[in-house]
């Protein structure tokens, strides 16, 4: 398959501020796998104060940060970049949002003592702060992406005190097999709306779950190139070993 004619531009939003939990791995995974598939790929960093024209990009990535840094970007994200982000979502651009970036796409964050912080409101979801952090390995199963015809098992690591709830029209990314997921009670993890994919799982998420990486790349290519047929297979033996070893170990101890 001749994929060389394809180009993707990936926008890493706030890379200097939202990258607490190895989120750089997700960018590396998108970049490397695109390259291995023969797709030309370009990574652009966009942070506080930078002008931002979302039509220039095909995939957007938003990671998680520490409270201190999340506070700093608040104004920029809501007032400077918010409308462009919403336009890109309506235009079916591909987004991956992890942890704090996931929460930020929602309507608000209510701290455990009742203070409400306004978020972007791009997706109908909201987060309530909890006193206990939910920390540990997580395995969930997604109907949206298939692995040999079966729902894909995705593995990662979660570390969050916010409990996220999904409104109407927002689908969860998957069902939790081990761990807490969105809120530790309803058994779901992550969120999907248009081509926006959200998850609490880092670790990093994409390198060890190559099906998901290729799924996101395919969505972006389909969106950009109507004649795009699909990605070929790569040698994923390391990724498969890492994924299955951890899944096996976690589910055995469950």
């Amino acid at each position: 398959m001749d994929t060389n004619k394809y180009n993707l531009t990936i926008c890493h939003l706030y890379p200097d501020l939202l990258n607490t939990y190895g989120d750089r791995g997700n960018i590396l995974a998108l970049q490397k796998r695109a390259e291995w598939h023969g797709i030309n790929v370009d990574i652009k960093n966009v942070t506080i104060g930078d002008t931002f024209d979302s039509s220039q990009y095909d995939i957007f990535f938003l990671g998680g940060g520490q409270d201190y840094e999340q506070e700093i970007i608040q104004e920029d994200v809501l007032n400077q970049k918010g409308n462009e982000i919403k336009a890109a979502i309506d235009g079916m651009k591909v987004f991956l949002c992890i942890c704090g970036g996931y929460q930020l796409m929602g309507k608000y964050y209510k701290t455990w003592d009742g203070k409400e912080i306004e978020f972007l409101g791009a997706l109908d979801l909201w987060t309530i702060g909890g006193k206990e952090r939910m920390i540990g390995n997580i395995v969930f199963e997604s109907d949206i992406i298939k692995d040999n015809g079966k729902p894909l098992k995705i593995v990662g690591f979660e570390n969050h005190s916010g409990r996220t709830y999904l409104g109407e029209g927002i689908k969860p990314l998957g069902k939790v097999l081990f761990g807490n997921g969105n809120n530790g009670t309803d058994g779901y993890e992550g969120a999907v709306y248009n081509n926006v994919y959200c998850s609490y799982s880092h670790g990093s998420l994409l390198p060890k779950n190559p099906h998901l990486t290729d799924h996101l790349l395919s969505l972006a290519l389909k969106q950009k190139y109507p004649d795009f047929q699909g990605l070929g297979a790569l040698d994923d033996s390391f990724e498969t070993a890492a994924r299955s070893t951890v899944i096996e170990r976690i589910l055995k101890n469950a």
Partner: protein
């Protein structure tokens, strides 16, 4: 005579003996027992020692070892927690060993390395004469929480202790240096001078500096820091144009890197009043390679001078100290050498990788990654390590082995750094790993083993049996 104290010490001492007989190390359990029986035990018995404490994210152990050497050179009668037993229970064990059954001290000075997260708790019991803080870097978020909470915990710990304590702080670290603001305590700063040319030995390729986000915003006013010079990570000549907070002038600093070898670094350094009576220039050879060890040596030197030990004994200490547990420990196997270097967080790992790229020989290394509690159960930090810098020496890479509980994840990380996957091998069995690794290492070469904490305990116990590496609590 305090009966509870007597029982506490006696039982704890018995536990030490029994654990040693069982060859179990026994660095934490005896202290835990002692505290359980008598919660006031540590405070009570430690009050008769001159206590020096070392804390911070990276470099605690090496800094402690150099200070220890200063004490030795001055014939000081001291105790120290050697084996990385740096939580409250381990520190208690050390003191129990150092007193008689009635709690009388058998030594004069206690040199204590304290885990930065435990520091706040430990200072409820200890009243140190001097505290050295090395630096603050992102480390095991699942265990320590966010970086600013670690900094705040150390800050509370320092506020708790008496104002007669001397603080020895890193001038180049905006977070560490902030501990010296608004305090009545005497403060000495150490660092690497902005005039020092660190290019040859620093790990700051474009990738290296880009991925740092530990402290880019001013701790007072949240404006972005500017830098006159950059050493590595967030260390360097920071200043804030908004509120004026900046790198404080250092009382002791490295002024030149004269030689950056693969086993040592030769530097010039100076001290200024009031740390010395006049401004003084010195030369020293640091018995370990890497820029991060220059910081450790400067921290130890500042501590030494602050405690009125002579510069000569400090210089001797830098060149003769014994490497700590897993800090470049060497084991000769025939005409080859195994070197053990502990890795535990991105900044430390980056510095070690940078050191590996400085060598000119073929590079054969094993990465042993565990995710037990002591290692951090979240291994996402591997993605913040700049493995990409290995591509700069790709023609020198022999074999890179990955192992440990998360050996497969490590292989994935190396793959996505762009390294030829034919050079990456997952070998989970440590015996086989040692055999293959040494086999692939050319004659006269070094096989580097980079384990996380618990992986090091495992590989060390194998190395001990196989090659007679000394037991770690000795």
């Amino acid at each position: 005579m305090n009966l509870k104290q007597l029982i506490s010490i006696t039982i704890s001492k018995l536990a030490i003996i029994v654990l040693r007989l069982l060859r179990r190390g026994g660095t934490t359990l005896p202290g835990k027992l002692a505290l359980k029986i008598y919660p006031g035990i540590l405070k009570s018995i430690a009050s008769n020692f001159d206590v020096i404490m070392v804390t911070g994210t990276n470099g605690k152990t090496t800094t402690t070892r150099i200070i220890e050497e200063v004490l030795k050179n001055n014939n000081v009668d001291y105790i120290t927690n050697k084996s990385g037993a740096n939580l409250l229970s381990g520190i208690t064990t050390i003191f129990i060993q150092a007193v008689t059954l009635t709690g009388r001290p058998r030594h004069q000075v206690a040199l204590i390395e304290s885990d930065e997260a435990a520091f706040n708790q430990v200072t409820k019991h200890l009243q140190p004469k001097a505290v050295v803080v090395t630096n603050f870097f992102r480390d095991q978020l699942d265990r320590y929480g966010e970086l600013y909470s670690t900094l705040n915990a150390v800050k509370s710990g320092l506020e708790r202790i008496d104002d007669s304590t001397t603080l020895i702080l890193n001038a180049d670290d905006s977070m560490c240096a902030s501990l010296g603001r608004n305090t009545q305590k005497k403060v000495f700063y150490y660092g690497i001078s902005p005039d020092t040319d660190t290019c040859r030995s620093s790990g700051n390729g474009p990738g290296g500096s880009q991925i740092n986000t530990d402290a880019i915003f001013c701790i007072n006013c949240k404006s972005k820091y500017q830098y006159t010079n950059h050493i590595y990570g967030h260390l360097g000549g920071f200043y804030c144009t908004n509120c004026g907070y900046k790198r404080p002038a250092a009382h002791l600093e490295c002024t030149a890197i004269l030689e950056a070898g693969s086993s040592h670094t030769t530097i010039s350094w100076r001290s200024v009043p009031p740390l010395s009576s006049l401004e003084q220039q010195y030369k020293a050879r640091i018995n370990l390679p890497g820029l991060y060890n220059v910081y450790n040596a400067m921290a130890a030197a500042a501590c030494g001078l602050a405690l009125n030990y002579s510069p000569e004994t400090v210089i001797n200490a830098m060149q003769s100290f014994e490497c700590g547990f897993g800090r470049m420990e060497s084991i000769s196997v025939g005409d080859k050498t195994i070197k053990l270097i502990l890795v535990k967080n991105p900044t430390g790992f980056n510095q070690v990788l940078n050191f590996l790229t400085l060598d000119h020989k073929q590079l054969n290394a094993a990465f042993l990654i565990n995710d037990n509690l002591a290692d951090g159960t979240d291994i996402s930090w591997l993605w913040d390590v700049d493995f990409e810098q290995l591509n700069e020496v790709s023609d020198r890479i022999g074999n890179l082995f990955t192992s440990g509980i998360r050996g497969e994840d490590m292989a994935v990380r190396l793959k996505y750094s762009g390294i030829d996957t034919r050079k990456i091998r997952i070998i989970k069995d440590y015996h086989l790993l040692l055999e293959r690794g040494l086999d692939q290492t050319p004659s006269g070469g070094v096989f580097y083993i980079l384990p996380t904490y618990t992986a090091m305990l495992d590989i060390r116990s194998i190395l001990r049996k196989k090659y007679k590496l000394k037991e770690f609590w000795k």
